[in-house]
Amino acid sequence: MSVFAGVVVEPVSATGRKTIAFIQEMGRMFIFLMHSVLHMFTLPLQFVKIITQINIIGAQSLYVVSLIGLFTGMVLGLQLYNALANFGSEGMLGTSIVHTLIKEMGPVLAAIMVTARAGSAMAAEIGIMRISEEIDALDTMQINPIRFLVSPRLAAAIISFPLLTALFDVIALFGGYLSGCKLKGLNDATYWYTVENSLVMEDINGGFLKAIVFAVIVITVCCYQGYTTHMRPNGFGAKGVSASTTSAVVMSCVLILMADFVLTAFIW
C-alpha cells in the first residue's frame, strides 16, 4: 500500500517541489532586479562605468546587430515578395516589412543578438568573479557588489537596447529594399512610399518599450546567473561558470520570446 502511495504521491510532490523552487528563484531574481534598479540612483552616480558598459553592450554590438539586421531584412524582402506576388500585391512589401520588423523582429532579434554577444560575456565574467572570491572581496571592502557590477550594466542596457533596435530596424528596411527592389525588381519609390506610409510613431515607441523590457530581462537574468554561480547544485568552478553562462543565454532567449508574446497579446 505504502509503495503504491509513494508511486502516486511522488510525481505530485516532485512537481510541487519544482514549482516552489521555480517561484523562489523568480522571487530572488526580482529582488536582485529591484536592488540593481535602486542602486542605479544611489550617489555618487557611476557615469564612467555606465559609459564603459554602453561601449561593451551597445557600441561593440553595432557590427553584429547591423549584419543580422541586413540579412533579416533581405530574407524578409525575398520571402514576403514571393508570398505577396501570388496575390498580385507586391506593392505592399514595404508595409509588410514594417509591420513584421518594427513591432516584433527588430526588438526580439536585437535583444537575442546582444544576449549572445554581451549577455553571455556578462554571466561568465561575473561568474568567474564569484568563484575567485572577487565578489566577496567587494563585500569586505564595503563596496556593494550589485551596485558595482549590475547597476551600471542595467543602465547601459536600458540606453543601448532601444538604440540598437532602431539601428536594426533601419538596416533591415534597407535589406528589404535591396532584395525586394534590386533583386526582384520592385519599384524603389513604391517600396519607400509604403514604408513611410505604414510607419506610425506608436509602433516605433512600442518597439522601443519592448527593447527596454528585454534589456531588463537580459541584464537581470545574465547577471543573476553569474552572481549565483557558487549556489548551483550542478557544478562548481569552471563547470559552474559554464553552466551559468548556458542557462543565462537559454533563459534570456526564452524569457524574451515569452515577454514578447505577453506584450503583443495584452498591450498591442
Binding site: 575567485s132 572570491e133 566577496d136 571592502m141 564595503q142 563596496i143 558595482f148
Partner: protein
Amino acid sequence: MTTPLIEMKDVVKSFGRHHILRGASLTIEKGEVTTVIGKSGEGKSVLLKHIIGLMEPDSGQILFEGKEFKTMKKAERKQLRSRFSYVFQNTALFDSMTVYENVALPLKEKGELSKKEIAERVATRMDQLDLHEIGNKFPSQLSGGMKKRVALARALVTNPEIVLFDEPTTGLDPIRKNAVHSMISDYQKKFGFTAIVVSHEIPDVFFISQKVAMLDEGQILIQGAPQDIQQSKDPIVQGFLRGMEANHDALTGLGTPTQLERRFEQEMELQKQQESNFSLMVFTVENLEEINDKVGHVAGQTMVKNFAAWLQQHLRPNDTCSRYGMAKILAVLPNTTRKDAQKVCSKLARAARGEKITDAELYPGFCFSVSAGFAEATDDSPIDTVLAAAESRENMLYAFRITK
C-alpha cells in the same frame, strides 16, 4: 577586566547537513596577532567569514567591543565593517584591473577622497610594501609573493584596525612563506592593527602570534599563548601539532622548537644521572626589521637561511640547533660548561669575521647583526629560564656584524 575587541560565543553554523561550527567561542584582543589553527575543512575560513560579516551564524553571538553585531543599527554595522580588512587565501585581486586600480579601488568607491589624495595614499602604501613600478601591471603578470603583497596593500590602504588573513602563505616556498609571516608581524607592529590569521604553518606561525586558538570538531578546543598551546597536555592538540610539524624547519633546514626542547630534556636527564654539564646558546638577528625595511622580507629571510646554514657548519656535530623564533636560533651544546660555551661563541665570532655568511655584503650601508648569548643549564631549570639567562646582558656577546 577589559572588554575584548571581538568575542564569539557558542557560534553555530551549518550548511545543509554539514555542521561546520558547533558552538565555537573565541576572544580576540586588540593589537594582537591571533592565529587560528586546525585541520583542513574544520571551518577556519568559515569562522573568519563570520567575524567580518560575510556569513551570519545560525545561533550564538558575535560581540564587537561588548556589543552584539546582530543588534546594531545599519549605520553602526557599516561603520564597524569599515574598520575591517580581509586578505583572501587566493588574494581575490581583480584580474581585469591593474595593480594600481586594485589598490585604489576601496578608496575610489568610497568617493571621499580626491583623485590626487587617492594617488598619494596608494603610492605610500605600495612603497611601504616594496611594490615599486608595478602599478600598471596586471595581477596575472606578478609572482605569487608579489600578489600577496598587492592584496595586503589593498587591505591596508583604508587604514583598517582589524585585518583578517585567510591562509596567507598557501602555495609559497619556505623563504616566501617566512617573508609573508615577517611581513604580517612587521606591519602589524608598524601600523598597530589587530591581526587574525588562519594558518597551517606550524610552528612558523607561532613565532609571530601572541595568541593561538585551535579549532577542532567545530569548537575552539584551546586558546592561549603559543607556548601554552605547545606545552598543552591535551592529546588532540599534541597529536595535531606533531602531525603538522615537519621534522625540520622548512626555511633553515635546522630542527624544530619541539625537537630542541626534547633534546634539552634528554640532556637534563643525563645531567642528573651522570652529572655532565650542558649549555644553551642563543643567536638573535638583531636588525631583521631594519633589513626587511631596507631590502625586503624575501632578502631578509634569505639572509637568515644562509646564516643558519653557516652556523650548522661551524657548530660541533653533537650540538643540536633549532630555529626558535622569527629571528632566533637556539643550540643545545652537550658536555659543555659555561666557560666552554664562551669559547665556542668567541670562536664562532672570529670565524664569522670577513666571511661572506649572508648576502648582506651585497647591500652596502648596513650590517647583518647577530647577538650571541650562552648559559649553562643548572639543576632542573626549565628551558625558558636558561634561555632568559643566555639572553641576559652579562652573557650576551655581540659578535656577528657583517658590514661593507
